[in-house]
C-alpha cells in the first residue's frame, strides 16, 4: 500500500461525494431518521380522549368521574348520550375511550353488591389500547378502594415497591433513541459505501481501476476510508441530538461510545462492500442494502422488543446480526453506565471487532480486479 496513492484517491472520492450531492444523504439521513422516529413513535399514552356517561349521578359516581378528571392521562368529558351515539363517536375517531356508569351504581356499592362499569376502548392502536386498559383499571380500583376499603383492610394488601432501573421515569426517548442510533449507523454507511463502488460499475469508470496500477488494497482503503471519515462525524452529531434534543442521560464512557461506534461503522461499510460486489446497478444496490439492514436493525436492536423475551429462531437470528451487540453497548453507555467493567460489554465489543475483521476480509477477498 502506498500512502500517496491512497491519499490522492481519498481526495478524489471526497470530492466526488461532495459534488454528486451524496454528502447530503450522508449527513441528512441519519439525523432525519433519528428525529423522525424519536418524535414519531410515542408509546407513552397521555391525553386519552375520554367520554364518561354518568347514568347514576350519585356521590359514588361523581367520585369516579372526578378521579378520571384529575388524572393527567385522560382528557375527559362528561355527557349524557345514548350508548349507540357514544359508540359512533369512537367509530368516527372522535373519542378513544368511553366509560359508562350504569344506574344504581352508587346504591349497589353501598349495599356491598357487585357494581359494574362498562368500558369501551378503541382497539385500532393495540399498544395504546392495552395501556389505556391498564390505566382505566388502575383509576377505577383506586377510586373504589378509597371509598370502601377500611384502614386495616388496605394495610393487609401487598404493596408493590417497584424500582425502574436505568430509565426511572419510563421515558420513550430513553428507550428508542439508543436503538435508533444503532439502526442509523447500520443503514446509512452501508448505503453510501455500496453506492460508491456500484456507481463506478454502472458508469463504467470501474475500468479506470481495472486498468490502472492502483492495487486492490489501495482502492478499497481509499473508498472505505473516505466514507468512514465522513461517517465518524455522524457519531458525534447523533450523540449531540441524543443529549440535547432528546435529553438522554449519558452514564458511560464517551471513549467506549466512540470506539464501539467506530467499529460498528466499519461493519456497516463492509456490508455495503459485500452488496456492491454482488450488484451492478445503483438502484438495486440501494434497495438491497435497505432490505438487509433496516429490518434486522429494527427487530434486533432491543428497541421495540427485549432480546431476553425472544423465542425460537428469532433468538438465533438476533445473535447472528451485529446489531444486538452494538445496541447492548449503546444502552449501557447511555442508561446503565457499567462500561468495560461488565464482562459482557467487553465480550460484545470483541465480537464487534471480530465481525469487522471477518466482513472486511471476506469483502476484500471477493472484490476482483477484473471483469468477472
Amino acid at each position: 500500500m502506498r500512502i500517496g496513492v491512497i491519499r490522492a484517491y481519498c481526495k478524489k472520492e471526497l470530492l466526488d461525494i461532495y459534488r454528486s450531492k451524496l454528502i447530503l444523504m450522508v449527513y441528512i439521513m441519519p439525523s432525519m431518521i433519528l428525529i423522525l422516529f424519536g418524535y414519531g413513535i410515542k408509546l407513552e399514552v397521555t391525553h386519552i380522549r375520554t367520554l364518561i356517561i354518568d347514568n347514576d349521578q350519585s356521590k359514588a359516581s361523581y367520585d369516579l368521574v372526578s378521579a378520571f378528571e384529575h388524572s393527567k392521562y385522560f382528557n375527559s368529558e362528561v355527557k349524557n348520550l345514548s350508548e349507540n351515539r357514544a359508540l359512533n363517536l369512537i367509530k368516527q375517531d372522535k373519542k378513544d375511550l368511553i366509560i359508562i356508569i350504569p344506574e344504581e351504581f352508587g346504591k349497589h356499592l353501598l349495599k356491598g353488591l357487585k357494581a359494574s362499569v362498562g368500558v369501551y376502548i378503541d382497539g385500532s392502536f393495540p399498544s395504546r389500547a392495552k395501556t389505556t386498559e391498564n390505566y382505566v383499571d388502575g383509576v377505577i380500583y383506586d377510586a373504589i378502594m378509597k371509598r370502601s376499603g377500611s384502614e386495616t383492610e388496605s394495610r393487609a394488601l401487598i404493596t408493590i415497591n417497584a424500582r425502574n432501573l436505568f430509565n426511572q421515569s419510563l421515558r420513550d426517548e430513553d428507550m428508542i433513541v439508543p436503538g435508533l442510533i444503532g439502526l442509523v449507523l447500520l443503514v446509512v454507511p452501508a448505503i453510501s459505501s455500496a453506492l460508491l463502488i456500484v456507481k463506478e460499475k454502472e458508469n463504467g469508470t470501474i475500468f479506470n481501476f481495472y486498468s490502472s496500477p492502483v492495487k486492490k488494497s489501495e482502492f478499497l482503503a481509499a473508498k472505505l476510508l473516505s466514507v468512514l471519515l465522513l461517517h465518524v462525524i455522524n457519531i458525534f452529531i447523533l450523540f449531540l441530538w441524543a443529549i440535547y434534543l432528546f435529553e438522554l442521560p449519558f452514564r458511560g464512557s464517551f471513549l467506549l461510545y466512540t470506539f464501539s461506534s467506530f467499529i460498528y461503522i466499519i461493519i456497516s461499510l463492509s456490508i455495503g462492500l459485500l452488496v456492491s460486489i454482488v450488484t451492478s446497478s445503483q438502484i438495486v444496490a440501494y434497495v438491497l442494502t435497505l432490505i438487509i439492514t433496516i429490518i434486522p436493525g429494527f427487530l434486533y436492536s432491543g428497541m421495540l422488543m427485549p432480546i431476553s423475551s425472544m423465542e425460537g429462531e428469532s433468538v438465533i437470528e438476533a445473535h447472528i446480526y451485529p446489531v444486538m451487540y452494538y445496541t447492548h453497548i449503546l444502552y449501557d453507555v447511555f442508561l446503565v453506565g457499567d462500561g468495560l467493567s461488565a464482562s459482557k460489554n467487553l465480550l460484545y465489543l470483541l465480537i464487534l471487532v471480530g465481525y469487522a475483521t471477518i466482513l472486511l476480509t471476506v469483502g476484500s477477498l471477493l472484490l476482483k480486479k477484473r471483469i468477472a
Binding site: S116, N134, I140, G149, G302, S309, E311
Partner: protein
Amino acid sequence: MSAFLAIIRKELLEFLRSYGLLIVVLYSFTLDVYIAGNGINLDARNVSVGVIDYSPGFISNKILSDLHYPQFQEPVFFASQEKLNLAIRNKKIMVGIVFESDFEKRYHNGNNPVLNLLMDSTASAQSYLALNYIQHILMRFQDTLSLAPIEIQIHKLFNPNTSYSYFMALAELLSIITILAVILTAAVFVKEKENGTWDIMLLMPTDAKAIILAKSLSQVIIVMIGTFICVGTVLFGIFDLPINGSLAVFMLLTFFYAFTSAGIGLFIASVARNIMQVAQLSVLIMMPLLFLSGAWTPVYAMHPILEYLSIISPLRYYIQGSESVFFRGTALIDLWEYFAGVIVLGGVLFWYGFRKIGKLF
C-alpha cells in the same frame, strides 16, 4: 384516446418485463408486509424473571406460580442481590422480584407486606406492561375483588385480542403504497431521461398532457393491483385481518391517494436526473410525511406543532381514513372528511407536479 391507452399498455408491459423492479414491488407488497406484521410486537411477552426469596416460601411460591407463559418465563432463582443485579445489568433478566424475610409474617399479620421489584426499564413499554401484569396477579391472588366489589367490563372494540400484527401489517401496507406510488411514477419518467428516450417521447404525435396522464395512470394501476394482492394474500390470507368497513371504499380512497403520491412523483421526476436521485429524494420527502402523519402514533398524541402541520399532509387523511375503514368500520358518510382531505390536497399536489413536469415537454 387510443394513443392514451397505447401508452398505458406500453408502460405496463415495460414494468412486467423489468424483472428487477417487478421482484422489488412484489416483495414489498407481500413479504415485507408479512415481516412487519409478524415481527413487531410491543406487548410484554415471555418476560424473563429473576427471584430472590428470603421468606419461608409458602406465599412467595404461590405468587410465583401465577407468573407463567405467555407473559412470563419460568422464574430463575438467585442466591444474592449482587447476582440478580448483575443478571439485570447484563440484560439476562428483565424483572427481579425480591421477597424480604419478613414478607410472609407481615402478610399474615396484615402489616403492610411489600413486594420489591427491580425492573430493567430500558424497554419502557414492556416493563410498564410487565408491572401491570404483576399488579393484576397480586390483585387476583388476594381477591381484592371481595374488598372492592366492582366489575369492570372492558370491551376493546375492533381488535379484541389486541393483535399487533393487524396494526403493523396495515401500517406497513400504507407506507409501501406511499413510497412505491412516488418512486414508480418518478422512475417512469426519469428512466426515459436516463436511457435517452426522452427525445423520442417528445417526438411522439401525442399531446404532452396525455403522455403525462397515461404514464401516471399506468403506475397508479400497478400500485392498485399490488395493494389488492397484498390485502388478499397477506392481510386477509395470513393475518386474518377483519375489515369492518367496505373494501371497495378502501380501494377508492387508495385510488385517489395513489394519484396524490403520483403528483409528488411527478415533482421528483422533474427535478431528478437519474433513478438514484429518485430513490433518495423519495425517501427524504416521504419518510417525514409518513411518520408525522400518524402511521405509528395517532396525530393528536404528537407535539402540537406537528399536529397542526399534519393538517396539510394528505397522508394524514389517508392513514386515518384507511384505519377507520379497516378497524372502526366507519360509515361512508362519516368518511367524507378523509376523502375531502385526500382529494383536495391530492388535487393540488398532482396539479403542481403535472405543471412542473409539463415544463419539460
